[in-house]
Symmetry: C2
Subunit: 200 residues, 2 copies
Amino acid sequence: MSETRARLIETATDLFLGKGYGAVGTSQICSTAGVNKGTFYHFFPSKSALLIAAIEKYTKSFEDAFEQIAQSDAAAPEKLAALFEVPAAANRSWRKRNGFSQGCLLGNVIVELGTVDDAVRQASQKALRQWEKPIEPIIAEIAIFEGLHSLDTSKGARCVVSMIQGGLLLAKLNNDPGEISAMAPAALGALHTLSAKSKN
Amino acid sequence: MSETRARLIETATDLFLGKGYGAVGTSQICSTAGVNKGTFYHFFPSKSALLIAAIEKYTKSFEDAFEQIAQSDAAAPEKLAALFEVPAAANRSWRKRNGFSQGCLLGNVIVELGTVDDAVRQASQKALRQWEKPIEPIIAEIAIFEGLHSLDTSKGARCVVSMIQGGLLLAKLNNDPGEISAMAPAALGALHTLSAKSKN
DNA sequence: GGTGCAACTGACCGATCAGTCAATTTTTCC
DNA sequence: GGAAAAATTGACTGATCGGTCAGTTGCACC
């Protein structure tokens, strides 16, 4: 893959994280990446096509980190807590570089374009499902570890993703990555009562 | 307050919920509300000023609903679950009218303008804090009811708000208001382990 | 019935937006 | 070394954006 293309994706991801999709123009992406307008449209047919490429790369980096946690030899509850530290750490390092918390590219895009651009919505949907994939076996481990026999691992994984996204929203609002970490201890108990209720 | 002004706020709220802030132009707001451009700017100095007015009204309606739950005579855990049904019901009725789930005005705005327009960010921050206000006494009741002596009610309320926002995001993504209700049973357990961890 | 003010009109503005394109340079491969 | 392909250039376009403004209407109050 072209180096210029990769730089465009990287630059766009950073800008979209910082200011959102709509607030960043193609001209700004080009000038920041040190590339001309024509080159942009040589590699991508549209601004939203670049966004989708950015989503895919962003998703993969998180999926890999989750996968690594899933395959570590930590105890199941520790793995669960570690999941929250992935976006929390990303948030902290981004904050250090740019001076403020940025939220999540997927969350941003779902909110901003979820009901406007269907290709983007589908890409985001697929992306969040890919997050769930490495999380689900961790939930299954917890179900055994904590004796939650009736826990639906799919619902559990989705609940965890939802709590991570909630934390990311508060992190952006309050400019504090700690909001994400603060949700981590709550997740284990959430799975307990999620299991109890699904018995009905 | 003027009826025209109120109609502008109402129309804008609906459009912003549906397509986001950036994707809705002032011309569309005006034509939908049956008002001329000049009238718009007679009542509001800018598009973002209208947004802030919309945020305030939107926040108040949720705050009132939460307040009513807090002062009902239901058992504390039932109150907690009822909180999630407020946005879930709003989401369902909006979906029935417009054909798709819309998420939350506050969440939308935080994501889209949180790092761009500081006046809007502050208004959203204040708004979510107002949500926490009626939620906190419910958390306090639960702390007594469930014997969670070390539970920080402020942290608990924030956690619940975060879970609601997480559910709203998934509701928008998957076009399913049920995602919000699905988070409700998880909240009680979340408070349990939040309490356990804050002992440290 | 006239005066003053808020409500309202709609054509208009400069800026910016995503996207285009014909021309040029660089790379690739025989 | 030469031709084809890929990468790059940057001025340009039409559309749309938020916002302006000089002027008109309608209503309340004296």
